[in-house]
């Protein structure tokens, strides 16, 4: 009989190995799924994992990886700080939208004036927009004890209405022949978040994501605030005993995740997307929650997880186009990845023991 035994302390080796084991298990189980659907499993796996990186059209897909991965990593890093402390910001999607609106608003207000300071101002406004939106659940939680999960989630829908109103009203392109949506910032040089190296996909958002990873790593491992975040998540009473101020921690965690989500929105609207449109948001704020957990709330893990997530999205699209795999099969495949990761994660704290049952 197989039983689970709690380890005396978490296994370091397993916490590093589980993501790899999970990816392998997903490949096996996913391959079976594709085989049942009548597709060549090896070809499907190869299409998803190999084609975007090293295939014939990789020159097109590789920049896409950065474009898709950067906002995921940027948002997930912010979320992971709160998640580690047991502060659940589920509304990054709303903060992402508000960051885009604030940032784009500043850019559009300057149109058509050209100046070097416009883009930096937009960046500040974008971060501020996300921060303001995250401060609403933070203030309500610290002042009235409301549940930040519900408040932040509901504010996503408020933000979506706000976005629609802006795209159809205040920010609508006056020269857009009545179509909804703002001016295209890609055509406004001072506001355009262009690729730093043409065609590489490497825009300012990618740089910001890398800086965020380093910032979070230093914060969590070398700074008192990060130590307090970890302590609060692991043992709230011990954190209080150590002298952690819960109010300040909530404001810091929600504020930081709001800023990062807002920046992600700003870099998207001023770069790859280019304009404020009704359907500007595509769920990065929600997918980032998965990325944060897939990366085990560790900055480097999140960087890798964001890359992996972007890979399965792009690889999935290719598989749909080339192999006629149904899109739901791709979603099941992505679900499997999360499932296996969480399942194998158990082995960090528990070990399997094969032996006779023992009454304890």
């Amino acid at each position: 009989m197989i039983r689970l035994e709690k380890r005396p302390q978490p296994s370091r080796a397993w916490s590093l190995a589980t993501p790899l084991v999970a990816v392998l298990a997903t490949m096996v189980a996913g391959g079976l799924l594709f085989a049942v659907l009548g597709k060549d499993p090896l070809e499907a796996i190869r299409t998803i994992f190999w084609e975007p990186l090293f295939g014939e059209f990789a020159f097109y897909y590789r920049p896409q990886l950065l474009v898709k991965g950067a906002p995921l990593v940027l948002i997930a890093i912010g979320l992971s700080l709160g998640f580690k402390a047991g502060i659940w910001n589920i509304g990054a999607e709303g903060q992402y939208i508000m960051g885009a609106l604030f940032g784009a608003g500043v850019g559009l207000a300057f149109y058509p004036h050209e100046a070097w300071y416009i883009f930096p101002l937009m960046v500040i406004a974008g971060g501020f927009g996300g921060w303001v939106w995250a401060m609403i659940p933070a203030y309500l939680k610290t002042r009235f004890g409301t549940n930040e999960i519900l408040v932040s989630l509901m504010l996503v829908y408020v933000a979506e209405q706000f976005l629609a109103s802006m795209a159809l009203g205040l920010m609508k392109n006056p020269e857009g022949f009545g179509f909804p949506g703002s001016r295209n910032l890609q055509q406004y040089e001072s506001a355009y978040n262009a690729d730093l190296i043409a065609g590489s996909g490497m825009h300012w958002g990618v740089v910001a994501a890398l800086i965020a990873v380093i910032f979070a790593y230093v914060l969590l491992n070398r700074h008192m605030v990060g130590y307090h975040i970890r302590l609060t998540g692991e043992a709230p009473r011990a954190a209080k005993f150590a002298g952690v101020n819960p109010t300040r921690l909530i404001l810091f965690c929600l504020g930081t995740s709001g800023i990062l989500a807002g920046l992600a929105g700003l870099f998207e609207v001023s770069g790859p997307s280019g304009q404020v449109s009704i359907d500007f948001n595509v769920g990065y704020g929600f997918t980032a929650i998965i990325v944060a957990f897939l990366g085990r709330l560790h900055p480097v893990g999140i960087l890798l997880a964001g890359g992996l997530m972007a890979l399965t999205y792009i690889g999935g699209d290719i598989a749909q186009a080339n192999l006629q795999l149904p899109s739901s099969a791709i979603q099941v495949f992505q679900g499997m990845l999360l499932f296996f990761l969480l399942a194998f994660d158990l082995l960090t704290n528990f070990r399997l023991s094969f032996g006779k049952p023992e009454v304890a």
Binding site: E5, P8, Q9, P10, R222, H223, M224, V225, Y227, R230, L231, E234, A235, R237, A238, A239, K240, F241, A242, G243, N245, E358, V359, A360
Partner: protein
């Protein structure tokens, strides 16, 4: 001895890394009060869990009245007439006595019938108890009565009691003993687990002593001196802590008119607490668990804030300062709950050294952490306090209770506190480690620190404190010199019998 009720032969139970019981054999006679004596971790609990069917022995056998006895689960043990009163009660605060008892029964009768049976049993055994009172309102002694009556309703042949007096005042202990005497007179056997020697000498007919899982001796307590039993239990003669002569300096900690509302529905409010502790003095604070000990500690550690003037360090008001500010001033604390309060279970000892040591040991600079300094500090605690662990990189939860306790106390003592507050400093710690911890508190006081020791172990408090006060329902009695206090006086300071009716036996 008369007829044998339960006989244990060669019971052995091993857990990974430790043999909890190693070929333990003894007999319990019918109508006998049998003591099971041993230190924390000697294997007493594992042994009674085997008798009660909670744990299955690896080898060995038991016979009940000559017939083989191997209960697979507690229900079976209960059917064979074995009942157990656990050290930690399993009662629901929000339900009344009868409802709580009904919850533990296989086929509970109607509430009215049950209530009258509870009355009947409680009167027969001198344990007056109203079946319709809410458990949340009962004192610890009365809660224990609920557990005992729950057992007596099964008409047991053997009643197992695990450390029953740890939650009682001396007066309440007297009442309990009268009940146990009555049960014995009726022919019920009692297996009485304790490490309190005087109790055992008063009550028990026979004693079996366990050390490191082995039966190391049996004796008739009435004919054996307490020190002989202690030596059997510990394995060597213990050196009692040295007090040394100390001069008291000026007042270091001054609490006046402190009232704090209860933090939760079943917590305790502190009411008008006054106390002063001088430099070099150890103030012992006794009292039954749940009378405001945790609340008092959190007021002193800075986890609960009060009016500024209610708590003063010398002449400085510190009531509104949080834990970090108090540590900076030299007010340190070690809470009772080791895992989750004093230490984070999954964090390493180095990280746990950072938990309270950051300010005073200079483990941070501008918010940036110096992990190598924290590691050195953790190593110093491990070395000076003889913490048994392979190294500071191990998680706190991997340490045994006693070792983690030494780490937690050592972490505060080594930070040279002006005022140190400890709650249950030796709870669940073996005798030699407990002696070391007590000695370190005495040494700290000798060095001029003021020490407040909150504990439920009266022997410990008498051993180390200069002055003694007791908490009772959130009120603190006036402190008195510890030397010369009698058990009766201490009991009255703790609240006497808490208005519990005396057994009518």
């Amino acid at each position: 001895m008369t007829e044998v009720l339960l006989s244990l032969k060669g019971l052995t139970k091993a857990y990974p890394g430790v043999v909890a019981n190693d070929t333990v054999s003894f007999d319990i006679g019918a109508g006998e009060v049998h003591a099971l004596l041993g230190e924390n971790g000697a294997g007493k609990s594992t042994l009674v869990k085997m008798i009660y069917g909670l744990v299955k022995p690896d080898s060995g056998e038991m016979t009940l009245r000559g017939a083989p006895f191997a209960p697979a689960e507690p229900r079976q043990a209960r059917a064979d007439g074995i009942a157990m009163v656990f050290q930690h009660f399993s009662l629901f605060d929000a339900l009344n006595v009868a409802e709580n008892i009904a919850l533990g029964m296989e086929n509970p009768p109607k509430m009215g019938d049950l209530a009258s049976r509870i009355r009947e049993v409680s009167e027969t055994y001198g344990l007056p108890l109203d079946p319709y009172r809410t458990v949340g309102d009962l004192s610890a002694g009365e809660r224990q009565r609920v557990e005992i009556i729950r057992c007596l309703l099964q008409d047991p042949k053997l009643l197992i009691m695990d450390e029953p007096t740890s939650v009682l005042t001396p007066q309440e202990v007297d009442i309990l003993f009268q009940t146990l005497e009555k049960l014995r007179a009726e022919g019920t056997s009692i297996l009485y687990i304790s490490h309190k020697l005087e109790e055992i000498r008063t009550l028990c007919d026979h004693a079996t002593i366990l050390r490191l899982g082995k039966n190391v001796g049996e004796c008739i307590p009435a004919e054996t001196s307490a020190s002989e039993m202690a030596e059997l239990m510990v394995g060597s003669a213990l050196t009692p802590p040295e007090r040394g002569d100390r001069e008291f300096g000026e007042v270091a900690l001054d609490i006046s008119g402190l009232s704090v509302p209860s933090p939760s529905a079943f917590g305790t409010a502190l009411r008008n607490v006054h106390l002063t502790v001088r430099k070099g003095e150890i103030l012992g604070i006794g009292g039954v668990a749940g009378n405001g000990q945790d609340e008092l500690l959190s007021v002193l550690s800075g986890e609960t804030l009060t009016e500024a003037d209610a708590v003063k360090l010398g002449k400085t008001p510190i009531g509104r300062l949080g834990p970090v500010a108090r540590r900076t001033l030299g007010v340190l604390a070690a809470p009772e709950e080791r895992l989750g309060h004093a230490a984070a279970p999954d964090m390493s000892l180095t990280e746990n050294a950072m938990l309270t040591g950051a300010t005073r040991e200079g483990l941070e600079k501008n918010g940036f952490l110096k992990w190598s300094a924290a590691k050195e500090f953790a190593e110093r605690v491990i070395k000076d306090f003889d913490v048994r662990t392979p190294g500071p990189e191990n998680a706190a939860r991997s340490l045994s209770g006693g070792n983690l306790q030494k780490f937690v106390i050592g972490r505060e003592v080594l930070q040279r506190p002006e005022v140190l507050v400890v709650n249950q400093p030796t709870w669940g710690v073996d005798a030699s480690a407990a002696a070391a911890i007590r000695q370190s508190l005495l040494d700290l006081a000798a060095g001029g620190a003021a020490v407040v020791c909150i504990s439920q172990d009266l022997d410990e408090l008498m051993e180390i404190s200069d002055n003694f006060a007791a908490l009772n329902e959130g009120r603190l009695s006036a402190p008195r010199a510890a030397a010369g206090l009698t058990v009766e006086e201490i009991g009255l300071m703790m609240g006497g019998a808490h208005g519990m009716e005396v057994a009518h036996v």
